[in-house]
Symmetry: C2
Subunit: 343 residues, 2 copies
């Protein structure tokens, strides 16, 4: 196990590197207030810490930087929680300042504010309606060829999707369709709508509507949920301000990765509630080797809805980011619960 002195040194190294982005050497460490022993002692300790894998050198005679393992230890054991200052809290509260009631907009806004507060990139994973139950479905005809289906779920999420009509459809057909759907699908989880339509609704459609086949596929397609929830970003360009990304190849691979929603989704689909931290290679994505991802989940009541994450360099201000994310996600949960929980 590490001695107290080693822990202290590790902690100071990480803190220092987080703020300077420069390898930290024994001499500059020895000048720190909290450190009362000589640079030679520090060198010995650092040598041990390196052997244990907590810190590394960038070249033979450089100062040390924390390794992924070092950050991991720091995050797990050495982190002192930071209280948000008033400006931060005020800023977070401004998420709800405008009168917004759209769930997605609130989430999107959170990502924006969070990225501004941290100067890192924020990623919000939109509300998962997958397991929501259908509360209401309404059909509005648009013209001869198309109509809109409006879906309301039990957690108050509303979506409208357009679908095509068979040539022969008339107003009464649509009304019948709406009635059948409402009759059969209310209370059904969104993810199984498609299935249910083919299994239960099909029969009824056939009885009541001519050309039911076209209508069937059309409405079933429409109610298919997308493969993943929406992603919202804030501060995509912020990483350009981090010194570690002055390396052109690094910034390119990161930016290219961020553009591919699939890979981001892969990173962010984290289910454990609370705060999750992935450091550097723990993300299993070479473009993320120099990045850490901190994720917090938000819910309505007890039902976990989505997450909000900060993507920053491994050298990120863990303490601040964790505090912010924790605060925002709790806040978000409270607000959303109040706004949307069905009585």
């Amino acid at each position: 196990m590490l001695t107290d002195r080693q822990l202290l040194i590790l902690q100071v190294i990480v803190n220092e590197f987080i703020h300077s982005a420069q390898p930290v050497g024994s001499r500059s460490l020895s000048k720190k207030e909290e450190i009362s022993f000589s640079s030679a002692t520090i060198r010995n300790e650092m040598s041990d810490l390196e052997e244990l894998g907590f810190i590394e050198k960038t070249h033979t005679s450089s100062g040390r930087i924390p390794s992924d393992k070092g950050y991991r230890y720091y995050v797990d054991h050495l982190l002192s929680p930071q209280k948000l200052n008033k400006q931060d809290v005020h800023r977070v509260k401004s998420i709800y300042a405008e009168q917004i009631y759209e769930l997605e907009k609130i989430v999107q806004n959170s990502a924006k504010i969070l990225s501004e507060l941290t100067n890192y990139t924020a990623i919000a994973l939109g509300p998962a309606v997958r397991e929501n139950k259908l509360k209401k479905i309404q059909i509005i005809p648009l013209n001869k060829q198309a109509a809109v289906a409006i879906i309301v779920t039990d957690s108050g999420y509303v979506q409208n999707r357009m679908f095509q009509l068979p040539e022969t459809a008339d107003a009464s057909d649509l009304e019948k369709l709406a009635n059948i759907l409402n009759d059969r699908l209310i209370g059904v989880s969104i993810e199984s709508l498609n299935d249910r339509i083919y299994k239960e609704v099909a029969v009824l459609l056939r009885q009541h509507i001519k050309n039911y086949d076209f209508m069937l596929h059309s409405i079933a397609d429409t109610l298919l949920i997308p493969t993943h929830e929406k992603l919202f970003f804030g501060g995509k360009a912020n990483m350009l301000n981090q010194p570690e990304f002055h390396d052109f190849e690094k910034i390119r691979s990161l930016m290219t990765m961020i553009e591919q929603e699939d890979s981001i989704y892969e990173l962010v689909r984290e289910n454990r509630s609370g705060i999750n931290i992935k450091i550097g290679r723990e993300n299993n994505n070479s473009a993320m080797d120099n990045c850490s991802l901190i994720t917090a989940t938000y819910s309505i009541g007890t039902e976990q809805l989505g997450s909000i994450s900060i993507l920053g360099p491994t050298r990120m201000e863990y303490s601040r980011v964790i505090s912010l994310l924790d605060y925002i996600s709790n806040d978000l949960t409270t607000v959303l619960t109040k706004l949307y929980q069905s009585e």
Copy 2:
């Protein structure tokens, strides 16, 4: 005026630079097939072209690169239109391959495909509903505190917006509200909805609904249109692959600018129908000094709806991009008109 030989040289310089991104010198020019005179002659001509402002040097003894003015002349007079090849056409058609009927998704998809085809950044300005007429408005109650208003415009655009309810509101109030709105607002342009509500609807609300004041503001706020139409992007990271943006400051200022929707909107809100080309400083935005923006508009019927643009380096493949944009925007107009034009 320029001599034929000068035009030829200008054209070859631009073509060459577009493909190599390297300043082009007299000797390499003289080796080109289409050029039958010596490098010394070319040097003289280039000297004249430089004096006229069409080309410039990067340093005293470098080859020449086109100036903004040079590109402008090239675009206006020297461009040979390029026919799309089969793969391109096929790719463009794939925009509509999936059965999508959401206007916004089609536009978004166009931006994505276009960015992939060009390797530049695509920006689509979403449909302007501003001048659309309200065709139908529907209110769906969600819970005690909130309801959704679904707005359908005459061009088939559907949107849902949530709004808050007064404590006292009951189902019959909402029904009344919906009736009043439908009675009074159908045919009214979306941009003047808010106004009309305060001027006409207010009186009626007062007569029929208790606590009408809260309801009035709530629904009026909800129907206020956003300050600008939605923007969709494709290939934001593509510019990282352009050699001119290996300069860190350039890429940072560009990326930061792209993140600010307001400035993009400013660039893209171009009303003339057809193809619009802005080269380098013509964009009046220092982050765009090394970029050109080519914009094409799309419509439903004769009503101009939005635009789709390509943002690339000034050294962009104008001919190809123009052909693509022209094709896509026409296609888009045709498809949308067929899908959405109200009969």
